[in-house]
Symmetry: C2
Subunit: 214 residues, 2 copies
C-alpha cells in the first residue's frame, strides 16, 4: 500500500519530518488547504530551500505558484514515520521521570499508546500510575509479545540502564529511547536514541561562556 518505498530518505530529513508534520497538522486545524515552502519554513525554523529539498524526497509534489497540499503531506509523512497505524510503547522505570513520561499527554495525539509501565522495585510494582498497574520487569517478554510493542523507553538510573536495554532487545524490541546518561551497545538492527538533560544543559552552558561576545 505505502508508496513510500522510494529511495532512502536522508537522516537529516527524517529528523525534520516530525516538525513538518506538526506544523501541517496545525495548518489543517486552522482550515488551511495548501501551504508554500516559505510558510512551512517559518513554522519550523529552517530555510525554504531546505523544506523543498526535504519534501523532494517524498512522493507528494507541490504545484508551482501555489504550494503543497496539506492533507496529502500529512498522510504521506505519517505513513513514512509509521504513524498510520498505532505504535505501542513500553516504559521501564517508574521513578520521577518515568511517572512524568507516563503522564505525558503527547503520546496519544501522535499515534503512540503507552501499553505498560515496568519496574524492579517491589515497593512500586502493583501500584497504579494513571490507568496502568506497574508490573515487574521480569514480565517484559510477555508484555512485548501480548501488546505487540514497538518501542521501549528507558527511564531508570544510569547503572541499571544497560541491563534494561539488553532485556528489551532480548524481548524483541528494535527501537529504544534511552533517558539514562550512558552509552549502550546493541546488535545491528536495533536503534537507540538517547535523550539526556545533563548533556543539553552542558551544551547550553558552553554557548553561555563562548558564543556571546562580552
Amino acid at each position: 500500500m505505502s508508496d513510500s518505498a522510494r529511495r532512502p530518505i536522508p537522516p537529516a530529513t527524517v529528523a525534520r519530518l516530525p516538525a513538518y508534520r506538526r506544523a501541517l497538522m496545525d495548518a489543517a486545524d486552522a482550515g488551511v488547504r495548501t501551504v508554500a515552502s516559505g510558510a512551512l519554513a517559518d513554522a519550523v525554523g529552517v530555510h525554504p530551500d531546505q523544506v523543498r529539498k526535504d519534501l523532494s524526497h517524498l512522493a507528494t509534489r507541490g504545484t508551482r505558484g501555489v504550494g503543497y497540499d496539506v492533507r496529502a503531506l500529512i498522510t504521506e509523512t505519517s505513513a513514512i514515520l509509521g504513524l498510520d497505524e498505532e505504535r505501542v510503547v513500553v516504559l521501564v522505570g517508574a521513578g520521577n521521570l518515568g511517572r512524568a513520561l507516563a503522564a505525558y499527554e503527547g503520546f496519544a495525539p501522535q499515534g503512540f499508546r503507552l501499553a505498560a509501565v515496568l519496574d524492579v522495585d517491589a515497593a512500586v510494582v502493583g501500584t497504579r500510575i494513571g490507568a496502568l498497574t506497574i508490573a515487574h520487569l521480569d514480565t517484559l517478554p510477555t508484555v512485548v509479545r501480548r501488546e505487540r510493542a514497538d518501542v521501549g523507553v528507558v527511564a531508570v538510573p544510569g547503572p541499571a540502564a544497560h541491563d534494561v536495554v539488553d532485556a528489551m532487545v532480548a524481548a524483541g524490541l528494535r527501537a529504544i529511547l534511552n533517558f539514562a546518561p550512558v552509552h549502550v551497545r546493541v546488535p545491528d538492527g536495533v536503534v537507540v536514541r538517547r535523550v539526556d538533560l545533563s548533556t543539553e544543559l552542558q551544551m547550553l552552558s558552553f554557548h553561555r561562556t563562548n558564543g556571546a561576545r562580552g
Copy 2:
C-alpha cells in the same frame, strides 16, 4: 585564566564533550589515571579517530604510546563547558514534566543548581516542590537578577511556550532549554535547544518500519 581561548571548537565536537567528560569522571572514580583514545571511544560509542580529532581541539595533549591524562582532560572539558563555576538554572512550568525535572538528581553533580521554579497557575504558586517554593512567572526578572541565572528551562504546554521564552529573553537569559513541541524565534545571541519526546518517538518509529529489512 582559561587557556581554552583557542580556535573555535566545532559544534559536533562540543556535542560530544559532555559524554567524554562523563566517561572521564567514571574512569577517575575507578582510579584510572590515563586513558587511550580507544578506551574513551568504547565508552562513548564513537571511533578512536573521532576521539583524537575532537581532543586535538583542546590544549591538553596526549602522550604517544600511553594516552591522555584523565584529570587534565576533566579539568579542561569542564572549563570549556563552563562548569568550573556553578551554573544557575530557572525552571518555568510545574506540571508533570516540570516536577520531574525539579526532582532530577543529575543537576548538582554536573555543576547545575536549580534556583527557582515558576508557574502562572495560582493553584500551584506558593506550594513547595522539594526545597523550593513555586513562585509566579511575573517574578522571573527579579529571580534572574537575584540568582544570576544562566539557563532557563521551559516545561510548559506548547501554546504557552513562546510567551515564556520571550519573558526569559527579556529577563536577560541567553541560554534556554525548551521541552515544548514548538519552534521559538529568538534574537541573535540567544541560544535555544529543544528536547521533544514526541519527535524522538517518531524518529524511532521511522526506523522501526524502515531500517529493518523485513
